[in-house]
Protein backbone atom coordinates (compact mmCIF):
# COMPACT_ATOMS: atom_id res chain seq x y z
CA UNK A 1 0.00 0.00 0.00
CA UNK A 2 2.83 2.43 0.61
CA UNK A 3 4.49 1.96 -2.77
CA UNK A 4 4.46 5.36 -4.38
CA UNK A 5 3.04 5.34 -7.91
CA UNK A 6 5.69 6.39 -10.39
CA UNK A 7 4.05 9.66 -11.37
CA UNK A 8 3.96 10.93 -7.82
CA UNK A 9 7.43 9.91 -6.69
CA UNK A 10 8.59 13.46 -6.24
CA UNK A 11 5.81 14.34 -3.83
CA UNK A 12 7.34 15.90 -0.76
CA UNK A 13 5.84 14.33 2.29
CA UNK A 14 6.00 16.96 4.98
CA UNK A 15 3.01 16.20 7.09
CA UNK A 16 3.14 13.65 9.90
CA UNK A 17 -0.48 12.85 9.08
CA UNK A 18 0.71 10.94 6.04
CA UNK A 19 2.06 8.01 7.94
CA UNK A 20 -1.39 7.18 9.24
CA UNK A 21 -3.25 7.85 6.06
CA UNK A 22 -4.11 5.63 3.20
CA UNK A 23 -1.31 6.45 0.82
CA UNK A 24 -2.96 4.98 -2.24
CA UNK A 25 -5.97 7.25 -2.25
CA UNK A 26 -4.06 10.34 -1.25
CA UNK A 27 -1.26 9.94 -3.74
CA UNK A 28 -3.52 9.17 -6.65
CA UNK A 29 -5.93 11.95 -6.03
CA UNK A 30 -5.07 15.38 -4.83
CA UNK A 31 -8.64 15.79 -3.66
CA UNK A 32 -8.21 13.36 -0.82
CA UNK A 33 -4.88 14.34 0.64
CA UNK A 34 -6.01 15.69 3.95
CA UNK A 35 -6.29 13.31 6.81
CA UNK A 36 -6.78 13.36 10.48
CA UNK A 37 -4.22 11.59 12.60
CA UNK A 38 -6.67 10.86 15.35
CA UNK A 39 -9.06 7.95 15.21
CA UNK A 40 -12.51 9.28 15.81
CA UNK A 41 -15.85 7.59 16.45
CA UNK A 42 -18.14 7.15 13.48
CA UNK A 43 -20.74 9.63 14.72
CA UNK A 44 -18.23 12.48 14.56
CA UNK A 45 -18.98 12.53 10.85
CA UNK A 46 -22.45 13.91 11.51
CA UNK A 47 -20.99 17.40 11.83
CA UNK A 48 -20.02 17.14 8.17
CA UNK A 49 -23.59 16.20 7.36
CA UNK A 50 -24.75 19.40 9.05
CA UNK A 51 -22.20 21.37 7.01
CA UNK A 52 -23.52 19.60 3.90
CA UNK A 53 -27.13 20.52 4.73
CA UNK A 54 -26.09 24.16 5.01
CA UNK A 55 -24.27 23.91 1.68
CA UNK A 56 -27.25 22.29 -0.01
CA UNK A 57 -29.54 25.11 1.17
CA UNK A 58 -27.05 27.70 -0.13
CA UNK A 59 -26.80 25.99 -3.53
CA UNK A 60 -30.57 26.00 -3.95
CA UNK A 61 -31.29 29.48 -2.62
CA UNK A 62 -28.52 31.04 -4.70
CA UNK A 63 -29.84 29.18 -7.76
CA UNK A 64 -26.35 27.77 -8.31
CA UNK A 65 -27.99 24.42 -9.08
CA UNK A 66 -30.20 26.00 -11.72
CA UNK A 67 -29.72 24.59 -15.21
CA UNK A 68 -30.88 27.97 -16.50
CA UNK A 69 -28.22 29.84 -14.52
CA UNK A 70 -25.49 27.59 -15.94
CA UNK A 71 -26.70 28.24 -19.50
CA UNK A 72 -26.69 31.99 -18.77
CA UNK A 73 -23.13 31.77 -17.49
CA UNK A 74 -21.80 29.96 -20.54
CA UNK A 75 -23.76 32.19 -22.92
CA UNK A 76 -22.43 35.30 -21.13
CA UNK A 77 -25.97 36.49 -20.49
CA UNK A 78 -25.72 37.05 -16.75
CA UNK A 79 -23.14 37.98 -14.16
CA UNK A 80 -24.78 35.88 -11.41
CA UNK A 81 -22.61 32.74 -11.53
CA UNK A 82 -19.40 34.71 -12.09
CA UNK A 83 -20.29 36.78 -9.03
CA UNK A 84 -20.94 33.67 -6.92
CA UNK A 85 -17.77 31.81 -7.92
CA UNK A 86 -15.62 34.96 -7.87
CA UNK A 87 -16.78 35.94 -4.39
CA UNK A 88 -16.32 32.37 -3.14
CA UNK A 89 -12.72 32.26 -4.42
CA UNK A 90 -11.85 35.62 -2.83
CA UNK A 91 -13.40 34.62 0.51
CA UNK A 92 -11.74 31.19 0.32
CA UNK A 93 -8.34 32.68 -0.52
CA UNK A 94 -8.51 35.20 2.33
CA UNK A 95 -9.52 32.36 4.69
CA UNK A 96 -6.66 30.11 3.59
CA UNK A 97 -4.23 33.02 3.90
CA UNK A 98 -5.41 33.73 7.44
CA UNK A 99 -5.26 30.06 8.45
CA UNK A 100 -1.65 29.88 7.27
CA UNK A 101 -0.66 33.30 8.64
CA UNK A 102 -2.23 32.85 12.07
CA UNK A 103 -1.45 29.13 12.20
CA UNK A 104 -5.09 28.34 13.00
CA UNK A 105 -5.69 24.77 14.19
CA UNK A 106 -8.68 22.48 13.81
CA UNK A 107 -11.28 22.30 16.57
CA UNK A 108 -9.38 19.31 17.97
CA UNK A 109 -6.09 21.18 17.92
CA UNK A 110 -4.52 19.57 14.88
CA UNK A 111 -2.36 21.48 12.43
CA UNK A 112 -4.15 22.25 9.18
CA UNK A 113 -2.05 21.20 6.21
CA UNK A 114 -2.18 22.13 2.55
CA UNK A 115 -0.88 20.12 -0.36
CA UNK A 116 0.19 21.54 -3.68
CA UNK A 117 -1.62 20.22 -6.71
CA UNK A 118 0.59 18.78 -9.42
CA UNK A 119 0.02 19.66 -13.02
CA UNK A 120 -0.85 16.85 -15.41
CA UNK A 121 -2.59 16.67 -18.77
CA UNK A 122 -5.72 15.43 -17.04
CA UNK A 123 -6.46 18.94 -15.89
CA UNK A 124 -6.71 19.92 -19.57
CA UNK A 125 -8.38 16.86 -21.13
CA UNK A 126 -10.46 16.02 -18.09
CA UNK A 127 -11.29 19.67 -17.55
CA UNK A 128 -12.58 20.07 -21.10
CA UNK A 129 -14.58 16.83 -20.81
CA UNK A 130 -16.16 17.94 -17.57
CA UNK A 131 -16.96 21.36 -19.08
CA UNK A 132 -18.80 19.73 -21.98
CA UNK A 133 -20.88 17.71 -19.53
CA UNK A 134 -21.42 20.57 -17.09
CA UNK A 135 -23.29 22.68 -19.67
CA UNK A 136 -25.47 19.70 -20.66
CA UNK A 137 -26.48 18.57 -17.16
CA UNK A 138 -26.46 22.15 -15.88
CA UNK A 139 -24.78 20.90 -12.73
CA UNK A 140 -21.39 19.90 -11.42
CA UNK A 141 -21.16 16.97 -8.95
CA UNK A 142 -22.26 18.84 -5.78
CA UNK A 143 -25.28 20.51 -7.38
CA UNK A 144 -26.37 17.19 -8.93
CA UNK A 145 -26.99 15.87 -5.42
CA UNK A 146 -28.78 19.07 -4.40
CA UNK A 147 -30.99 18.88 -7.51
CA UNK A 148 -31.92 15.34 -6.50
CA UNK A 149 -32.81 16.66 -3.05
CA UNK A 150 -35.13 19.31 -4.46
CA UNK A 151 -37.24 16.47 -5.83
CA UNK A 152 -36.17 16.12 -9.46
CA UNK A 153 -35.83 12.37 -9.06
CA UNK A 154 -34.65 11.67 -12.60
CA UNK A 155 -31.33 13.30 -11.66
CA UNK A 156 -30.60 9.98 -9.94
CA UNK A 157 -29.96 8.64 -13.44
CA UNK A 158 -27.46 11.45 -14.11
CA UNK A 159 -25.69 10.69 -10.82
CA UNK A 160 -25.51 6.97 -11.62
CA UNK A 161 -24.11 7.84 -15.01
CA UNK A 162 -21.52 10.14 -13.40
CA UNK A 163 -20.52 7.27 -11.09
CA UNK A 164 -20.17 5.09 -14.19
CA UNK A 165 -18.00 7.78 -15.81
CA UNK A 166 -15.72 7.85 -12.79
CA UNK A 167 -15.54 4.05 -12.83
CA UNK A 168 -14.61 3.97 -16.52
CA UNK A 169 -11.91 6.55 -15.84
CA UNK A 170 -10.53 4.37 -13.03
CA UNK A 171 -10.59 1.33 -15.28
CA UNK A 172 -8.69 2.96 -18.16
CA UNK A 173 -6.60 5.60 -16.41
CA UNK A 174 -3.34 3.82 -17.22
CA UNK A 175 -4.04 4.17 -20.93
CA UNK A 176 -4.96 7.84 -20.84
CA UNK A 177 -2.41 10.63 -21.36
CA UNK A 178 -1.33 12.01 -18.01
Amino acid sequence: MIDAPKDKKQRVITSPEYKHSDFEVRSLDSQCVNASEKQVPFYYNFKYMLAGILFGVILVKAEVISWFRIQEMFRLESFHMYGVIGTAVVVGAISVFLIKKLNIKTIRGEVIDFQDKKFNKGQIFGGLTFGLGWAITGACPGPLFAQLGTGVTVIAVTILSAIAGTWVYGKFRDRLPS
Partner: protein, 187 residues
Protein backbone atom coordinates in the same frame (compact mmCIF):
# COMPACT_ATOMS: atom_id res chain seq x y z
CA UNK B 1 -36.22 36.67 8.83
CA UNK B 2 -37.72 33.63 7.12
CA UNK B 3 -39.05 35.87 4.36
CA UNK B 4 -35.53 37.19 3.84
CA UNK B 5 -34.14 33.66 3.52
CA UNK B 6 -36.93 32.58 1.18
CA UNK B 7 -36.20 35.08 -1.57
CA UNK B 8 -33.40 34.22 -4.01
CA UNK B 9 -30.05 35.15 -2.55
CA UNK B 10 -27.80 37.77 -4.03
CA UNK B 11 -24.64 36.39 -5.66
CA UNK B 12 -22.39 38.08 -3.11
CA UNK B 13 -24.20 36.41 -0.18
CA UNK B 14 -24.05 33.03 -1.89
CA UNK B 15 -20.38 33.51 -2.78
CA UNK B 16 -19.55 34.51 0.78
CA UNK B 17 -21.13 31.38 2.25
CA UNK B 18 -19.68 29.05 -0.39
CA UNK B 19 -16.24 30.57 0.17
CA UNK B 20 -16.57 30.09 3.94
CA UNK B 21 -17.10 26.36 3.32
CA UNK B 22 -13.35 26.09 2.65
CA UNK B 23 -12.21 27.24 6.15
CA UNK B 24 -15.23 25.55 7.78
CA UNK B 25 -14.14 22.09 6.59
CA UNK B 26 -10.47 22.78 7.30
CA UNK B 27 -11.23 23.90 10.85
CA UNK B 28 -13.78 21.15 11.52
CA UNK B 29 -11.29 18.42 10.74
CA UNK B 30 -8.54 19.34 8.25
CA UNK B 31 -10.74 18.36 5.30
CA UNK B 32 -10.28 19.68 1.81
CA UNK B 33 -13.50 20.85 0.13
CA UNK B 34 -14.06 18.69 -2.96
CA UNK B 35 -17.25 16.91 -3.90
CA UNK B 36 -16.47 14.90 -7.04
CA UNK B 37 -14.25 12.61 -4.92
CA UNK B 38 -17.53 11.16 -3.62
CA UNK B 39 -18.19 9.59 -7.00
CA UNK B 40 -14.90 7.75 -6.59
CA UNK B 41 -15.69 6.74 -3.01
CA UNK B 42 -19.01 5.30 -4.18
CA UNK B 43 -17.14 3.27 -6.83
CA UNK B 44 -14.65 2.10 -4.20
CA UNK B 45 -17.44 1.13 -1.82
CA UNK B 46 -19.79 -0.53 -4.30
CA UNK B 47 -17.99 -1.65 -7.47
CA UNK B 48 -14.20 -1.70 -6.90
CA UNK B 49 -13.81 -4.64 -9.34
CA UNK B 50 -10.18 -5.08 -8.33
CA UNK B 51 -9.21 -1.84 -10.08
CA UNK B 52 -6.21 -0.26 -8.30
CA UNK B 53 -7.77 3.21 -8.52
CA UNK B 54 -10.64 2.00 -6.34
CA UNK B 55 -8.68 -0.15 -3.91
CA UNK B 56 -8.30 2.10 -0.92
CA UNK B 57 -9.91 2.50 2.44
CA UNK B 58 -12.89 4.61 1.40
CA UNK B 59 -14.24 4.48 4.95
CA UNK B 60 -11.52 6.96 5.91
CA UNK B 61 -13.17 9.38 3.50
CA UNK B 62 -16.63 8.73 4.91
CA UNK B 63 -16.88 12.33 6.10
CA UNK B 64 -17.33 13.39 2.48
CA UNK B 65 -20.15 10.89 1.95
CA UNK B 66 -21.86 12.29 5.06
CA UNK B 67 -21.37 15.74 3.58
CA UNK B 68 -22.97 14.83 0.25
CA UNK B 69 -25.94 13.18 2.01
CA UNK B 70 -26.26 16.50 3.83
CA UNK B 71 -26.30 18.32 0.48
CA UNK B 72 -29.25 16.15 -0.63
CA UNK B 73 -31.10 16.90 2.62
CA UNK B 74 -30.25 20.60 2.27
CA UNK B 75 -31.71 20.58 -1.24
CA UNK B 76 -34.88 18.99 0.12
CA UNK B 77 -35.20 21.51 2.96
CA UNK B 78 -34.62 24.50 0.68
CA UNK B 79 -37.11 23.26 -1.90
CA UNK B 80 -39.86 22.34 0.57
CA UNK B 81 -39.55 24.80 3.44
CA UNK B 82 -37.69 27.79 2.03
CA UNK B 83 -39.31 27.83 -1.38
CA UNK B 84 -39.84 31.10 -3.17
CA UNK B 85 -43.17 31.06 -5.04
CA UNK B 86 -41.80 33.34 -7.75
CA UNK B 87 -40.56 31.69 -10.93
CA UNK B 88 -36.86 31.52 -11.64
CA UNK B 89 -35.80 34.76 -13.30
CA UNK B 90 -33.35 34.33 -16.14
CA UNK B 91 -31.96 36.52 -18.90
CA UNK B 92 -34.63 37.51 -21.47
CA UNK B 93 -32.39 36.43 -24.35
CA UNK B 94 -32.17 32.93 -22.86
CA UNK B 95 -35.95 32.83 -22.27
CA UNK B 96 -36.56 33.76 -25.92
CA UNK B 97 -34.08 31.22 -27.21
CA UNK B 98 -35.37 28.38 -25.01
CA UNK B 99 -38.95 29.21 -25.99
CA UNK B 100 -37.99 28.55 -29.61
CA UNK B 101 -37.01 25.05 -28.44
CA UNK B 102 -40.28 24.60 -26.56
CA UNK B 103 -38.83 25.16 -23.07
CA UNK B 104 -41.03 27.57 -21.10
CA UNK B 105 -41.51 25.97 -17.68
CA UNK B 106 -39.56 27.87 -15.02
CA UNK B 107 -41.30 26.38 -11.99
CA UNK B 108 -38.23 24.31 -11.02
CA UNK B 109 -34.54 25.11 -11.09
CA UNK B 110 -34.08 22.56 -13.84
CA UNK B 111 -36.24 22.52 -16.98
CA UNK B 112 -38.68 19.72 -16.18
CA UNK B 113 -39.60 19.60 -19.86
CA UNK B 114 -36.18 18.01 -20.40
CA UNK B 115 -35.44 16.40 -17.05
CA UNK B 116 -38.37 14.05 -16.53
CA UNK B 117 -38.77 10.27 -16.42
CA UNK B 118 -40.77 10.21 -19.66
CA UNK B 119 -37.67 11.41 -21.50
CA UNK B 120 -35.46 8.71 -20.01
CA UNK B 121 -35.66 6.35 -22.94
CA UNK B 122 -35.59 9.01 -25.65
CA UNK B 123 -32.59 10.30 -27.55
CA UNK B 124 -32.88 13.61 -25.70
CA UNK B 125 -32.85 11.85 -22.34
CA UNK B 126 -29.92 9.71 -23.39
CA UNK B 127 -27.84 12.82 -24.04
CA UNK B 128 -29.06 15.06 -21.22
CA UNK B 129 -28.92 12.50 -18.39
CA UNK B 130 -26.75 9.62 -19.45
CA UNK B 131 -24.08 11.17 -21.69
CA UNK B 132 -24.04 14.45 -19.71
CA UNK B 133 -23.64 12.63 -16.40
CA UNK B 134 -20.97 10.35 -17.82
CA UNK B 135 -18.91 13.31 -19.07
CA UNK B 136 -19.19 14.96 -15.66
CA UNK B 137 -18.06 11.83 -13.79
CA UNK B 138 -15.28 10.93 -16.21
CA UNK B 139 -14.04 14.49 -16.68
CA UNK B 140 -13.94 15.51 -13.03
CA UNK B 141 -11.96 12.47 -12.01
CA UNK B 142 -9.56 12.79 -14.94
CA UNK B 143 -9.09 16.46 -14.03
CA UNK B 144 -8.62 15.51 -10.37
CA UNK B 145 -11.48 17.65 -9.13
CA UNK B 146 -14.55 19.66 -10.02
CA UNK B 147 -15.79 23.17 -9.38
CA UNK B 148 -15.44 22.74 -5.62
CA UNK B 149 -12.06 20.98 -5.60
CA UNK B 150 -10.30 23.02 -8.28
CA UNK B 151 -12.19 26.27 -8.86
CA UNK B 152 -12.88 26.99 -5.19
CA UNK B 153 -10.47 24.98 -2.97
CA UNK B 154 -7.60 24.96 -5.46
CA UNK B 155 -7.80 28.60 -6.44
CA UNK B 156 -8.23 29.60 -2.78
CA UNK B 157 -4.87 27.94 -2.13
CA UNK B 158 -3.41 29.68 -5.23
CA UNK B 159 -2.71 26.44 -7.10
CA UNK B 160 -1.94 27.11 -10.74
CA UNK B 161 -2.90 23.60 -11.94
CA UNK B 162 -6.35 24.36 -10.54
CA UNK B 163 -6.44 27.54 -12.62
CA UNK B 164 -5.62 25.49 -15.73
CA UNK B 165 -8.40 23.05 -14.82
CA UNK B 166 -10.89 25.87 -14.16
CA UNK B 167 -10.12 27.54 -17.49
CA UNK B 168 -10.63 24.20 -19.25
CA UNK B 169 -13.96 23.67 -17.43
CA UNK B 170 -15.07 27.06 -18.76
CA UNK B 171 -13.81 26.45 -22.31
CA UNK B 172 -15.61 23.09 -22.41
CA UNK B 173 -18.75 24.74 -21.05
CA UNK B 174 -18.68 27.58 -23.60
CA UNK B 175 -18.34 25.10 -26.46
CA UNK B 176 -21.05 22.85 -25.08
CA UNK B 177 -23.64 25.50 -24.13
CA UNK B 178 -23.31 27.41 -27.39
CA UNK B 179 -22.76 24.65 -29.93
CA UNK B 180 -23.88 21.30 -28.47
CA UNK B 181 -26.83 22.11 -26.16
CA UNK B 182 -28.82 23.99 -28.88
CA UNK B 183 -28.42 20.91 -31.06
CA UNK B 184 -29.48 18.55 -28.27
CA UNK B 185 -32.56 20.68 -27.51
CA UNK B 186 -33.78 19.99 -31.03
CA UNK B 187 -33.62 16.21 -30.64
Amino acid sequence: MLELIKQPWHWSVAGLFIGLTVPLLLILGNKSFGLSANLRHICAACIPANIPFFKYDWKKEAWNLFYIVGVIIGGFIAAHYLHDPEQVKVAPTLVADLASHGIDDYSELVPTQIFNWDNLLTLKGLFFFVVGGFLVGFGTRYAGGCTSGHAISGLSNLQWPSLVATICFMVGGFISANLIVPFLLNL
